[in-house]
Symmetry: C2
Subunit: 317 residues, 2 copies
C-alpha cells in the first residue's frame, strides 16, 4: 500500500485517510484487551458475547463533536472515557453487569491515527473498570467526529431495575457526584480558570459503577443514571411510576467547590452520571445520600415547589 508506506517512511503514524479504513481498524483492534465475556472478538461479520442470563441489556448513545465534547477542551483519551462511561452507566442503571462495548467511530480522514488510538485507549480503560471489553465496531470517514457506543450487559438472573417501580413512602437517594460537570462547563465557557477538579469532571464523568449492585442488594424499587440533571431525570421516575417525587434541597450534596450556583448545578446539571434510586423507607444503603421521598401524585417538587420543564435538551439549548 503506497499510502501506508509513505506514512511509515516519515516516521510518523499518519492520518486515518492515509492508513485507510482497514489499516486503522487493524491498529485499533491490536490494542484492545480481551474481556471475559467476549466469546468472539473483532474480525468477523459480528462479535459473539456471552449472555449467561438468557437476556442481554443493551443501550446506544451518540456523542457528537461540538455538542457532547469539544476537541479544544478534551483530549481523545478523555473523550473515549466519557463515551464509554455514559453507556456503561446506562447498563448499570438497569441493575446489570456490563459485558461488552461496540464502538462506531465517524471521523474526518485528515485526523491523525494516533488520535483514534488514544480514543480507543480511553474507551478500553473505562470498560476495564466494569469488567467489560470492546467487542467490535466500525470506522468510517465523516465531516465531524461522531462516536456511537453500544453497551451490553447481563442481569444475572434478576429482573431489570426500571424507572417504574417507585411507590409512595419510598426514600429517594443519590450516589455519585452531582453538578460537577455542569460547573466545569461554566468554567470552560468563562475561560477555563477554576478548580481543575471541575474542569476534569466536565471532560470525564466518574460514575460509581458499584451503584447498581448496591441498589439491587438494598431492594431498590427504581434506578436510573443522572444524565440530563437530577430533577429532570427524577421526573422520568415520577412519570413511569405514576408518583410524585419530593426533594429537600438542603439534603442534596453541594460541595463548596461548585461555587455560588452550586445548588442549581447539583439539581439541573447533567453528564456526571451519578445514580438516583428509590428505596423502601429505611433501606437507603450507607454509600447513598437520601435527598427526598416518594409521595402520591405526579411530578417533581423541590422544597414544596413544582419543578417545571427544563434541564438539558440537545436541540433546544
Amino acid at each position: 500500500m503506497g499510502a501506508r508506506g509513505r506514512a511509515e517512511g516519515t516516521g510518523r503514524m499518519g492520518t486515518i485517510g492515509e492508513l485507510g479504513e482497514f489499516g486503522l481498524i487493524s491498529r485499533l483492534v491490536g490494542r484492545l484487551p480481551a474481556g471475559p465475556a467476549i466469546a468472539l472478538g473483532p474480525g468477523d461479520d459480528a462479535a459473539v458475547i456471552t449472555a449467561p442470563d438468557g437476556r442481554v441489556t443493551a443501550t446506544t448513545d451518540l456523542l457528537v463533536q461540538g455538542r457532547h465534547f469539544r476537541l479544544d477542551w478534551s483530549g481523545p483519551y478523555e473523550i473515549g472515557r466519557k463515551a464509554a462511561a455514559q453507556n456503561l452507566a446506562d447498563v448499570v442503571a438497569m441493575g446489570a453487569r456490563p459485558t461488552a462495548l461496540l464502538v462506531g467511530l465517524a471521523v474526518p480522514p485528515a485526523t491523525e491515527a494516533a488520535w483514534a488510538e488514544r480514543l480507543y485507549d480511553g474507551l478500553a480503560d473505562e470498560c476495564a473498570e466494569t469488567g467489560a471489553a470492546i467487542a467490535g465496531g466500525d470506522v468510517v470517514g465523516a465531516a465531524e467526529v461522531v462516536i456511537a457506543v453500544t453497551a451490553l450487559g447481563d442481569l444475572g438472573g434478576a429482573p431489570p431495575l426500571t424507572r417504574s417501580g417507585a411507590r409512595p413512602g419510598d426514600a429517594v437517594a443519590v450516589r455519585g457526584r452531582l453538578g460537577h460537570s455542569s460547573a466545569g462547563l461554566d468554567l470552560f465557557r468563562a475561560g477555563a480558570d477554576g478548580p481543575a477538579e471541575l474542569l476534569d469532571a466536565h471532560r470525564r464523568p466518574r460514575p460509581p459503577y458499584t451503584a447498581g449492585a448496591e441498589a439491587r442488594a438494598a431492594g431498590a424499587t427504581a434506578l436510573l443514571d443522572v444524565s440530563d440533571g437530577l430533577l429532570q431525570d427524577l421526573g422520568h421516575i415520577a412519570a413511569a411510576s405514576g408518583v410524585r417525587i419530593e426533594i429537600d434541597s438542603a439534603a442534596v450534596p453541594v460541595p463548596a467547590l461548585l461555587g455560588p450556583d452550586g445548588l442549581r448545578h447539583a439539581l439541573t446539571g447533567g453528564e456526571d452520571h451519578a445514580f438516583a434510586a428509590t428505596f423502601p423507607a429505611g433501606a437507603v444503603p450507607p454509600a447513598w445520600t437520601a435527598v427526598g421521598r416518594v409521595a402520591a401524585g405526579s411530578g417533581v417538587v423541590v422544597d414544596g415547589r413544582s419543578y417545571g420543564p427544563g434541564g438539558w435538551d440537545h436541540f433546544a439549548s
Copy 2:
C-alpha cells in the same frame, strides 16, 4: 412548549429542532412495532432483549450522509431499509437469527421530523423481514446525518459461522445479487438514466436472509456477507482460514442487466449484501451458485490470475 405549539398551529409536523430530542423520540417510539425478543423496549436507561442461547451476536455499522447514501438519490425510507439491512446481514452471516436493532441517529436539527419518521419506518420494515425489532436508540443534533445501527442476534445453540473454517477441497458459493448496487451507482453518477432495478438496488440492498439457515443446514465451513465486493470479501475468508480461493469467472452470475462492465461489478462491487460461503464438496445448497473452490495456499485467484488489493475502502476512494 412554544416551538411545538407553533409547529402544530401551521398544520405541519415541524422540524426536529422544534420538536426537541424528547419530542422526536416520543414520536418515533410510538411508531415502533414490538418484537418477540424485546423483553423491555425503549423508554428506560437500556433495553432488555432475550438471548436464549446464552450468547448474543452483535455488530455495529455507521452510515454517513454523502458517503454511504446521498439525500438526493435516496429517500429516508430506503436509507432506513439499507441501514438495517447491512447490519442484519452481518448477524445472518454468523449463522444467527436477528433479534433486535439499536439505532443512533445524528441529524441536523432543521430536518423535518417526518423525514426521521420515514427513516424509522424503513428500519422497522427491514427488521420485520427477519423477525427482529427496534429495541432502543438515541437521537442527537449534528451537522450531517449519521446513522449508527447495532444489530443483535441469537445463535440458537450452534457455533458461529466464522470466516476461518474453509478447508482445501471445499466449494465456494454465493447467494443473492452481486454487482447490482455498484452498477446502479455508476448510473446515478452518469445521470441516473438506466434500469430502475439497478437504481433501486443501489438505494436498497435485498439480502436473502434465509442464507444463514441454509448455509448452516448444509454444513457450511465459512460464511460472510458481501459488503465490500466478492473478491475482497473472499480474501477475508482466505486470510482467516489460511487457504487459497479460486474463482471461475464464467460461473459468477452476471445478468445482462449489469451492462458491459457486469463482471467487474459482480466481482468487485459491494453493498448488495449477498452472502458467500464455503461448503464441503458436493454440499452446495440448491439456492446457492457454486463459483469456485478452496485450495491450499493463500489469496484469491480469478481464472488463474491473482486478485490484488482493491474493492471499496471508505477512505481511499
